[in-house]
């Protein structure tokens, strides 16, 4: 198989010495290297699964809060009940490119008692079925089931990462929450893009929810980067904590969309014309979707480094 990611040494203890943390280089048996097992297909699963399930979750939450959605009912049914599950399906199909023997998919639910991948697979199937059923039979029953499945899917994706004991930057308790917030953020972004293309607007509460989701995602990203003082974690997430990367992620990816959405709300009905308001909403959506996508790339590729193996005598 061609390497999806280039083989490269991840940041070594040498860098930590410069930053004042002393690590004995001589104890390193096998230095940290970038993982090559999960590449673009796995990243797509997290990105599309997040956008699809997150979008469904965002929409139903704002719908529950407000009771309306600002768009023609038929289009909403198509977008929410068919396009969102289709995104999740595409992500899952991308995974089959990564699996070495996909024909053994029959055994995929065997590990349901312990494996988060098994649970994610079950949540995936449940979400697809219930979301599509909700499209054909509108009502709270199928919608609520689909919402629970979407939430479960996102949380399972987070746990899949957090159980990777060999990857210090993934093996963290915050990962399920981060993947959930990232999914909601990308879902909100995707919905805003769809709505602006369709010539509709979110309701006021939808915008407020989008602002909250964006701020929460930015906060969780910062929490993630500060989560641990463990030297392995600091080394493997070093690139993500560099100023340009952080500025792009927090400021451009989250604060700018929040400002644009607040501008939209403040000027609602006056000042900015309709095209201008679509532009504000669409641009916010693009930035939120892009930043959430970039989060996933950063987690899978940039900080996806194997545990450094050291030999320490007693």
């Amino acid at each position: 198989m061609k390497s999806w990611a280039p083989t490269q040494l991840c940041i070594t203890s040498q860098i930590l010495k410069i930053n004042g943390i002393i690590v004995d280089n001589e104890q390193i048996l096998i230095p940290s290297t970038q993982q090559k097992s999960w590449g673009w297909p796995a990243a797509l699963n997290f990105i599309l699964g997040g956008a699809g399930a997150g979008g469904y979750l965002f929409f139903t939450l704002s719908h529950i809060v407000v009771g309306s959605h600002g768009m023609d009912g038929a289009n909403v049914r198509i977008f929410i009940n068919f396009v969102m599950p289709a995104l999740v399906c595409l992500g899952f199909l991308a995974l089959t490119l990564e699996a070495g023997r996909p024909q053994n998919i029959l055994f995929l639910l065997s590990g349901i008692r312990t494996s988060w991948i098994s649970r994610e697979s079950l949540a995936f199937v449940t979400f697809i079925v219930t979301a599509v059923m909700s499209g054909f039979f509108p009502g709270y029953f199928w919608q609520n089931l689909a919402m629970i499945s979407a939430l479960t899917l996102l949380i399972c994706q987070g746990f899949v990462l957090s159980k990777s004991r060999g990857i210090p930057a993934w093996n963290l308790g915050i990962m399920p929450v981060l993947v959930l917030s990232s999914g909601l953020s990308s879902g909100a972004g995707f919905i805003m893009i769809l709505w602006s293309i369709s010539g509709a607007f979110l309701t006021t509460s939808g915008f407020i929810l989008a602002i909250i989701v964006a701020l929460i995602n930015a906060a969780f990203w910062l929490f993630y980067l500060m989560w641990s003082k463990d030297s392995e974690f600091l080394k493997t997430t070093h690139n993500l904590r560099q100023s340009p990367s952080l500025a792009a992620m927090i400021v451009i990816g989250h604060l700018v969309p929040v400002l644009l959405l607040m501008l939209f709300l403040i000027n609602s009905g006056t000042g900015i014309d309709q095209e201008g308001r679509w532009f504000l909403m669409g641009t916010s959506g693009v930035l939120l979707l892009a930043s959430s996508t970039w989060q996933k790339f950063g987690i899978i590729f940039s900080s996806g480094c194997h545990q450094e193996i050291r030999f320490i005598t007693v």
Binding site: M1, G100, R101, P102, G166, F311, V314
Partner: protein, 216 residues
């Protein structure tokens, strides 16, 4: 109930790589996989240079992180503690590869790179097509151990029931035996020497112990 373990005396390891070569040949290790690896390091201690060879493979942990993450239950652990892979069930998702802190596992995708095409330069024992797309790793030569036990042999003592790397170690650095047998060779070594286990702080409780003369 036996608990199989390996003890490696680093002062006896000469870095010949026999353990790796015999493992590759006997177990048909796929070209992209490393069931056993040899690490060479030079340490500077008290202004002296010390050269060390360390061989490592699957640690057959008591608490293997790879076990719970497997969605198809292809990865299983025998009652004697050996972690093995059911090739018929493995889907090749690589969750176990990422769960293992020791980088002991790998997925063989070699067929896609054309490694199994007719190639006169292909090494002997370069894996077979049954292993394409699935995970593989050291299994302490489990089939050999099981056959030996059926024939009344004692793994670690009788060569025909002992992992090939241990049997063919030129320096006599590798030992294998039953931790639950107080009279076993490995227990005898462990009681007489200070040992260490790699990444023990992760709580995996590996079944491979190292004796080292390198002091911190």
């Amino acid at each position: 109930m036996a608990r199989w373990a390996m003890v490696i005396d680093l002062s006896k390891c000469i870095g010949c790589g026999s353990c790796i070569e015999i493992c590759k040949q006997v177990n048909n290790v796929p070209p992209e996989s490393e069931w056993r690896r040899l690490v060479e390091r030079t340490f500077k201690k008290n202004n002296n240079l010390k050269r060390m060879f360390l061989t490592m493979g699957c640690m057959h942990c008591d608490n293997p992180p790879c076990l719970d993450v497997c969605p198809t239950k292809a990865t299983y652990q025998t009652r004697e503690g050996i972690v093995n892979i059911d090739q018929e069930r493995c889907i090749g998702c690589a969750a176990c590869v990422l769960a293992c802190p020791y980088k002991a596992r790998s997925i063989n995708h070699c067929a896609r790179a054309g490694c199994y095409e007719t190639n006169e330069n292909l090494e002997v024992g370069m894996g077979n097509e049954d292993q394409i797309g699935i995970c593989s790793k050291c299994n302490f030569c489990l089939p050999l151990i099981n056959t030996g036990l059926k024939n009344g042999l004692q793994p670690g003592k009788d060569p025909d029931a002992t992992p090939m790397c241990v049997r063919h170690c030129l320096g006599g650095a590798l030992s294998f035996g039953d931790l639950d047998d107080p009279g076993s060779h490995v227990n005898s070594i462990l009681s007489r020497n200070k040992t260490t286990r790699i990444l023990e702080e992760l709580g995996t409780n590996p079944a491979v112990y190292y004796i080292s003369d390198i002091e911190d």
